[in-house]
Symmetry: C2
Subunit: 235 residues, 2 copies
């Protein structure tokens, strides 16, 4: 029986312009359990067998530091460390263009160091259904839609609301097509694909797959990684 | 000049049935910087000069423990520690009926130990405008509206979305009226008042006014309170 050639999976780590909330320090290099935040992300992608290639997109001034980190960590899947653009989507766009025409693309926030290989694999599996799938978790909080005057307009039913995370996984042509067409600012990659009228699926992410934007988040990420390391997997 | 009599402000601390997510331990009594979570909440209300009376609503089995905590902490404003009902709103309803006809009511989650007196005062000030105001913070995450099949329906514009917190502050007749009329399950008190067609305002809460539902949250709350204690107020 002839084996089907395995599809190529590329990843883009979006880590440019993420230091705004942490007083000048690029949080992507903040120390987390003794290693930079970005190191933890790259470790997971390096060790995830389904991923072939990784592009790291950093802010201009962080590129040299990123290159050193990749070299010192011996992250063999990283084929480029490059400078991003003004908006998050400009940076991801740079990353997508650097990829060597993969079949699938996994886009991940560099500031989410608590992801797992399982989340990447689940994303790829789920994306096969419609070409696009994102990790997300059901919202635990009550959300209010508020008008410009600070008055609540409506409280949407919580059951239908999910908080988007990354990884966000796309068939390459789907995300490349969206990036070629959508120019308005968006807050995640799925929004672009949605704007094209393409169906995007959500799959269960992890509540502890947090985005590190403040020092408190960093302390929480440290707790999460330590608890996980100590074999406590219940979250 | 004749002085206007100061309006009475009552508070209801909703702390019943909150242990579901923490393996049998009632998280309201979990240790946080050496004191139970609930102690921190009561401390803030006790020390907040605008609050006259506090009702604590706990799960049936936690009432004796709550009474001891109030006694040992010498929380003089607490006039009742009572058992709540099945749903959060049933518990708050019990608390509202125990209050001695105040002019204003401050409802607060017992599991939010990082509130400040400032948040209570701001709430009262803001509530004077329409009779109802809640602490909330602009959402940092991207929210997706998802259908029953796990497909994204729409990504609401993030700018208009706020995450509801407590304190939630109401004129007594407004919240009592809402509780008398609305019976469907809601996730916060403001929803009831909104259902009555009454305008509710949001005011800026604090990102670190977190709700403690997991052990990780507890660790984060510990970090927040310690950082604040060390004079680090920038969040």
């Amino acid at each position: 029986m002839k084996e089907t050639p395995r599809e190529r999976v590329g990843a883009v780590i979006a880590a440019a312009g993420s230091s705004r909330r942490m007083e000048g320090i690029d949080k992507i290099f903040a120390s987390l359990v003794g290693k930079p935040v970005l190191w933890h992300v790259l470790r997971v992608f390096e060790d995830c067998p389904v991923v072939d290639e990784v592009i790291v997109v950093l802010s201009d001034e962080s590129v040299p530091r990123g290159e050193r980190l990749v070299e010192e960590g011996a992250f063999s899947k990283v084929t480029a460390v490059c400078a991003g653009g003004r908006r998050r989507q400009d940076s991801v766009g740079v990353g997508l263009r650097k990829l060597k025409q993969p079949d699938w693309v996994v886009i991940h926030d560099g500031a989410r160091p608590c992801l797992t290989a399982e989340l990447i694999k689940k994303g790829l599996k789920e994306a096969r259904r419609t070409g696009a799938a994102i990790a997300a978790v059901p919202l635990k909080e009550t959300v209010k839609v508020v008008d410009g005057e600070g008055r609540i307009e409506v409280t949407p039913v919580r059951e239908s609301l999910w908080s988007a995370q990354t990884p966000q996984v796309f068939r390459f042509d789907v995300i490349a097509g969206a990036y070629a067409s959508v120019t308005r600012e968006v807050t995640d990659d799925a929004s672009m694909v949605e704007a094209m009228g393409h169906k995007v699926r959500v799959y269960m992410g992890r509540y502890d797959n947090i985005k590190v934007t403040t020092r408190e988040d960093l302390a929480l990420a440290e707790t999460i990684l330590r608890m996980r390391h100590e074999g406590w997997h219940r979250l």
